[in-house]
Amino acid sequence: MNEEALIASARQGDLTAFNRLVLAYQQMAYNLAYRVVGNQDGAMDATQAAFLRGYRALHQFRGGSFKAWLLRIVTNCCYDQLRARQRRPTTPLDDILEDDDHSQLLQNHGQQPEDQVERRELGAFIQAGIQTLPNDQRVVLVMRDIQGMSYLEISETIMVSLGTIKSRLSRARAKMRDYLLSHREQLPDRFRLRGG
């Protein structure tokens, strides 16, 4: 069954059809939430809330890109999480244990253990840099450079103009470059930026 048929079936209340959509998009949704929120618990909460909200609001889906519609809900749930965290600042346990949790990274069976360690360090380092960005720039950077979405998809998802996407992304990349240059000694040699 293709995506449109699943959406049509889910709009009639078929939860099984919607769960098939969930399985198709949960990886993307969770990674977006994790990069934006910055911790595993918050990302899980935001992702689950987004799918729940999406199921309840599926009758409001007017066609177009379901991925953009779903990721918009995920983004909004991430903002809700960030606002909640601002009100109740906590230190999630998974942030402390993150480096020891190997299972949280997608395993590439062709990689050597050393490569996997380096990539995990790189992931943590990038995540720390992303957390320095403002929320709007963070979302655009994650969607474009980590999720690989096009400018048009990002524009549809967060409902801002292409010009705004370009300027936000330009500023976000410049800040990330400055961050990576200023902390490049924490990276493995092959990931260090030249210059600076």
Binding site: G13, D14, L15, F18, N19, V22, L23, Q26, Q27, A29, Y30, N31, Y34, Q40, M44, T47, Q48, F51, L52, Y55, R56, S103, Q104, L105, L106, Q107, R119, R120, L122, G123, I126, Q127, L141, R144, D145, I146, G148, Y151, L162, K166, S167, L169, S170, R173, A174, M176, R177, L180, L181, F191, L193, R194, G195, G196
Partner: protein, 375 residues
């Protein structure tokens, strides 16, 4: 002095600074791309910046994806809950729509009612607007004192006129009934010179009968069967007072009378033939009030002009007797059929109340359903 070439380079540099990120992604226009590449060829700073941005993007793209810690599939119980929520949402939508419609209708009715009450919407028949169908028709069981007053006054002043009340039996119908006319404004000279005993008595007693007539007639809310009683002449004035419009002043004692209630309260008098008929007492008459006559009456109020007819008919006397005695009788309401617009209006008043009650129920239900539903 800066050459045009330098100015162009400076503009290109500014363009490069703003668009290097988009240039990396191929999201610049053809013209921008040409200018950027021309500038990158001559600007080592921009080339270096472009390289660092490219490295940053490549590094970000190497960030590992995280596996999902668990499945985010929704539990199946949610399906039943969603169906329930859908029903509640549907109910809420219907209730909200019904509330809006009921509110609109109520506002429409209330505003229409207010407009009719203010007279902004003209109603052809004003008589049924009065709250009760009460007529100053006859005095079936007037107190003896009042009767004595009537007879004394009439006997003292009258030419050989037979004053007939209901108790005395059927009056003698006059071939031509007395021509009584209500005039707003100055009293007619003919009326002042009238030999009519009743009119003289009125004038002698209170400086003029019109205030009394106005008071009594204004207090009497409805005029059914006036043509039976001889109050036909006063009825238009009563209507006029009730509606606040009044009659147009008549300059001459026109030998015309105003027809009773079935007609709209226009100032145009019409002949009354039913006044000639003797009044018939109906057993359903109920005397209701005896209001005292106002002690001070100003002659500027509505006078009653009685044309010098030789013999006032019993109808006339019977018409004026209640005014003197301030006795009013309650008639069975609506002896004449209401005009359709008044029937509709009365129905709307009932609907008004029903709609207000319905609106309250709808509002409560909508609020309750709004709390029950899940957005």
């Amino acid at each position: 002095m800066t050459s045009p070439l330098r100015i162009r380079d400076r503009l290109d540099h500014r363009l490069a600074q703003a668009n290097l990120s988009a240039y990396l992604d191929g999201e610049v226009t053809g013209d921008q791309k040409r200018r950027l590449e021309r500038h990158l060829a001559i600007c080592p700073g921009c080339r270096e910046e472009l390289a660092s941005l490219r490295d940053t993007v490549m590094l970000l793209q190497q960030a590992p994806l995280r596996s999902v810690p668990r499945s985010f599939a929704l539990p199946m119980e949610l399906q039943a809950e969603q169906a329930r929520n859908r029903r509640w949402n549907l109910t809420y939508s219907y209730l909200r729509g019904a509330t809006v419609v009921a509110t609109f209708l109520l506002v429409l009715l209330v505003s229409g009612d207010a407009l009719i009450g203010m007279g902004a919407i003209p109603i052809p028949d004003a008589a049924p607007r009065l709250p009760k169908a009460v007529a100053v028709e006859r005095v079936p069981e007037a107190p003896p004192v009042v009767e004595a007053v009537i007879e004394r006054e009439v006997a003292a002043t009258a030419p050989p006129t037979k004053v007939v009340t209901e108790k005395e039996g059927a009056p003698t119908p006059a071939p031509e009934g007395p021509r009584v006319e209500l005039v707003q404004g100055q009293p007619s000279p003919a009326a002042l010179a009238s030999p009519s005993p009743v009119a003289e008595a009125d004038l002698a007693r209170g400086g003029g009968a019109p205030p009394d007539a106005a008071a009594v007639l204004g207090a009497s809310p409805s005029i059914p069967r006036l043509e039976d009683t001889g109050m036909a002449a006063i009825a238009p004035s009563e209507k006029a007072l009730a509606t606040g419009r009044g009659l147009e002043p008549t300059s001459a004692p026109s030998p015309t009378l105003v027809s009773p209630t079935a007609e709209p309260p226009t100032a145009r008098p019409t002949p009354v033939s039913p006044a000639l008929e003797p009044p018939t007492a109906t057993p359903t008459q109920v005397p209701v009030t005896v209001t005292p006559e106002p002690p001070t009456a100003t002659p500027t109020q509505v006078p009653v002009t009685v044309t010098p007819e030789p013999s006032p008919t019993p109808a006339k006397v019977a018409a004026l007797a209640p005014r003197e005695t301030e006795a009013k009788s309650v008639q069975p309401p609506m002896t004449q059929p209401l005009s359709p617009i008044w029937t509709v209006w009365r129905g709307l008043r009932v609907l008004w109340g029903l709609l207000a009650g319905l609106l309250l129920i709808l509002l409560a239900s909508t609020i309750w359903a709004g709390h029950r539903r899940r957005p």
